[in-house]
Every structure is written in C-alpha cells, then in structure tokens.
C-alpha cells in the first residue's frame, strides 16, 4: 500500500513502477498508454495482466491526444488542503479517440465550466501540476482543453 505520508502527496509517486512511463511520457509531451503485446489492446489502467487476453507484456504507446469529454464534476469543496486554492476546478473522464474504452482522469482547463457538453471534443495539453502544500515541486501531466 502506497504511503499517504510521503512529503509530495498528492503529487503522483514517480517511483511507482506501474505509472512511471505515463509520467515520463508527459514530461516528453506525449500521452502514452500500455498496449498489450499479445492482443494489441490498450490496457488502462496499467494492470499486471491484460483483461482481454491475460497477456503480461505491454509496450507503452503514444496516442494522438484527442478525446471526448465522457463526464465531469465541478469540484467546489476542497477535499484535501492541496486543493484549497484551486477550487472550483473541473475534473473528469476523457474517452480517447484512439480507443474510447480508455478513459483518462484529468483536469479540463481553459474552459467555461458552464459551457461544457457531453462528448465534446478535447485535446491534450501538458502542464506542470503544482500544489501549494508541496513547495518547489512540479510534475508535468496531461490535462485537456476544448478542441
């Protein structure tokens, strides 16, 4: 069980092997998703075995970063101290055009929250994620903007 005591929580734990490649991709400006070497399916979240064919080898593969807004919440209450200066913010699920069964959880930014619509096209952008509770640290992550 990963520790909530780490000093950089709630930034992602870059030492966690299962998601290292995801954040390394974001640092290069690429959205990368594990693809099963056996059946070719995108497997998200990164699990140890492919849910479709039980394969256990994956290649992290860049996708084009276009998707559609599947659903979202406009968070108004800061549930963690780290979010206090951010609220209200939009977080939601983006179904990727490359495979709509893959839903990326992220922020929708540069948008009017009241103007968002179901299944509207979005594009990935890479931004530094920072929290005031974690000074001097930033992690580049994929976020989404209206296309």
């Amino acid at each position: 069980m990963a520790s909530l005591k780490r000093a950089d929580f709630p930034l992602p734990d870059l030492s966690d092997e299962r998601t290292t490649e995801f954040f390394a991709g974001a640092a290069r400006g690429e959205l990368v998703i594990p693809k099963c070497d056996s059946c070719g399916a995108f497997c998200w979240y990164p699990e140890e075995r492919c849910l479709k064919c039980d394969g256990d080898a994956f290649t992290w593969t860049a996708v084009d970063g276009h998707g559609r807004l599947y659903s979202w919440a406009v968070v108004r209450r800061a549930f963690l101290p780290a979010f206090e200066e951010m609220v209200p913010f939009v977080t939601g699920l983006v179904a990727l055009d490359a495979d709509p069964t893959v839903r990326i959880v992220s922020y929708v930014v540069d948008c009017d929250p009241d103007a968002l619509a179901a299944d509207q096209p979005l594009d990935v952008v890479f931004r530094d994620l920072r929290f005031p509770t974690v000074p001097d640290r930033a992690v580049p992550v994929p976020m989404f903007v209206p296309a």
Binding site: M1, S3, L51, S71, L93
Partner: protein, 396 residues
C-alpha cells in the same frame, strides 16, 4: 453490453437459514468510542435478542479490511475461549448481504450453529485524523493515488458526481429527481427515533438549496459520517423457530462483480452497478420478482447509487428511475417503501449493516416506519466493484 462483470456462482440455500437475532448500538455523530467497543455492544445485543448466550455463538464473521472487531474482541469482551468458525468476508457493505450465505454453508457443513455477523464503525470520531476522510483507503491504492488523486478526482463525492452527471446526460435525470430520493430517506428517518437525522426535516427546496460539493452533487446527495454498529445472527430455519424472535428467512442471495473492480473511472457501463449481475440470480433463488418486494433497502452513499440500484435490480427499466422515484414513491408509505430507516443519507453511515437489520425488523413487524403486512424485504449491498442482493421473507 454485459461483459463488464459477472455473477458469483452461489449454491441455492433458499429457506435453509434465517436471521434470528439483531443488535444495534446508538447511532451518533462523533462519540469518542472505538469501533471495537461499538462492535462488542452490537454483538451483545444481538445475542440477547435471539435469546442466546455468548457461548452459543460458534461462528463469527466480520470485515477483514476493518479489523476493529474480530474473534479476539469477541472473546475478550465475553470472557470466552471456545472455538469459533470465522470468516473475514462478512461485516457491512456488500458483505452485509452475503454473510448469511457464508453462514449457511458453515451451518450446512456442521462447522457452526449460530453465526454472528458484526460491523461497527467510528469514522465520525476518527475523521479528523484521516486524509480525505473515508477517502483514505482509496487514496492509499497506488493506481488511484497516481492516476486520480493528483487530478482532483477524489474522494467519493467527486467519483459519484461524475457518475451522476453521466446519468443526467444519458437519461435526462434531473436534480429534482435525485432530490426526491434524499427527501424520501429524510422523511423515513423522521419516523425513526434512532436515526441521526430524526429531528431534522428536509423539503425538496432544502435539498436544492444545499451546497454543491462537486457539481452536480450536493451535500444532501451525500451520506452522513457516523459512529455506530449492528450485528445479526444467522442459524438454521429449524433452530430459528425455537429461538426468541420470529425468523426472517433467507430466501435468496446474489453477488455481482465488475471486472474493473474499484476503479469506477474505467467501468464501461459507467451508470450501472454490479446489481445487474447480483439481483437476477437472487430473485431466481428466492422464486420471487421485484414486484413481490414490500421493502427495499439499498446501500446509498449518494443518491445516484440508489438511483442506479433501483434500475439494476429491476424495479424499473434502466434509465427510468428518475421518473420512478418522483414524488412520494420511495416514502415508507409509498409505492416502493425504500430505506425505511433513513438509509446512509439520513439514518447513519454504518455501511449497510443497519439496512439488513431494518429489513429484519420490517419482516418481524417491529420497524418504526413499519410497512403493513411486510412479507418480502430486500437489501442491495454495494461496494463499487461488487454488489450483493439479500432477500428475506416472513416464515410461511
């Protein structure tokens, strides 16, 4: 599309066992008590209710992820040391619905005669020291900690706000319809003196005026945070007939599972629950249909979880629950008496164990908001990636 989950294969135990004893503690805001203290008190009251002695209890189930109450706590409290058949796959949530099935197997195998299932919680007392409150166990999971929490998709109110919005987008469900569920639960709690919200009335206007925590989800869509616990005793139907209370017969049990587990974000049927897989085999085992149900209680951490389970258990078509729940349908004196004790929203957040106890009371005819002539009561358990269905009937 039905390949997103599956039913657990369960042996048919219809009519073999019954719930013969129930026990509850007070349900409160922060009490300063430990879950262990609450657990043993609930256990003691269930044993007394059944007319048994602690030494008669030879089977014990609890939830291993909440190890506050276990066999050691039982023996320490009662000063006993006898052998117990035990299972860590009982307690509350989805397992409050399947623990009688585990007990039935232990009883059939001759491993136990009287099986006590206990679930206590002291989250109201513990809340101040938890990261994100009840979200803490979620935040501790590595994939959520790295792929959800950093993106603000945390804790449970945010997950369920997202599910709620999709339900609204797909089916046209309105905020007033979600509000109807909250108002029904509150009115039922107003009839139940043990409910935390017993004294507080709520109208639909009050619901609509309650703050948006994560738009579209409001404070009044959300469960309470409580201290409290309950317990029940399962024994053979034959034995139950000799005990102090009228038996609540276990007529059907089901369990459903989503392949995406607790990762709601990736569940392909996003606005459904694994009740889709759980309820049909439970009704089949019982030889009953949703139309036969006099009282329905479902695990209701948020109104949308009730909305989805009402659909997925077959009380209306998928997507039609919004219209179905309008008005007073779900009130204790409505068309489908629902969470008649007040549910997690207005009774107490004790994670489903009190829902099962409420169904037993309804079958006995002793519930505060009693449904006249209640013969069939159902509990819908839910724990994200899993759901359970427990059908109890009067002894006929």
């Amino acid at each position: 599309m039905s390949d997103w989950g599956h039913a657990t294969e369960l042996d048919d135990i219809s009519g073999q066992v019954a719930i013969a004893g129930i026990g509850e503690t007070e349900y409160t805001k922060a009490s300063g008590r430990t879950a262990r203290e609450i657990g043993v008190e609930a256990a003691e009251r269930a044993i007394a209710d059944a007319g048994l002695e602690p030494t008669d209890i030879d089977g014990l189930s609890w939830n291993g992820a909440f190890a506050d109450f276990d066999a050691d706590a039982f023996h320490e409290h009662f000063g006993t040391s006898h052998d117990l058949w035990t299972s860590r796959w009982g307690g509350g949530m989805t397992w409050a619905g399947t623990a009688p099935h585990l007990a039935a197997q232990a009883i059939a195998d001759g491993k136990a005669r009287h099986v006590l299932n206990v679930f206590p919680v002291a989250w109201a007392t513990q809340r101040g020291s938890m990261t994100g409150g009840p979200g803490e166990t979620h935040a501790a999971q590595p994939l959520k900690q790295n792929l959800e929490v950093p993106f603000g998709w945390f804790p449970q109110p945010v997950y369920f706000a997202t599910i709620m919005r999709r339900h609204m987008l797909e089916f046209g469900t309105t905020e007033e319809q979600f509000g109807a569920i909250a108002v029904a639960c509150r009115r039922n709690a107003n009839h139940n003196p043990t409910a935390v919200m017993h004294e507080k009335k709520m109208t639909l206007d009050d619901y609509l005026a309650s703050p948006l925590l994560a738009d579209p989800l409001r404070m009044f869509d959300s469960c309470l945070i409580s201290d409290g616990g309950a317990a029940y005793i399962t024994t053979s139907l034959e034995r139950a007939r000799d005990l102090a209370q009228p038996p609540a017969v276990v007529a059907g049990v089901g369990e459903g599972n989503a392949e995406s587990g607790g990762h709601w974000s990736q569940q392909q049927e996003f606005t459904s629950t694994p009740q889709v897989f759980s309820a049909p085999p439970a009704f089949k085992m019982a030889g009953l249909a949703p139309g036969d149900v006099d009282v329905l209680t479902v695990y209701d951490p948020f109104t949308v979880v009730s909305m989805m389970q009402i659909e997925d258990m077959g009380f209306c078509e998928k997507g039609a629950a919004g219209e179905f729940v309008e008005g007073d349908t779900l009130h204790h004196d409505g068309e489908l008496a629902f969470n008649t004790h007040g549910g997690l929203l207005s009774h107490a957040y004790v994670l489903g164990i009190a829902h099962v106890v409420e169904v037993v009371k309804q079958i006995r005819g002793t519930a505060p908001a009693q449904v006249p002539g209640c013969e069939v009561g159902v509990y819908g358990g839910y724990t994200g990636g899993m759901a359970s269905t427990l059908i109890l009937t009067e002894d006929r």
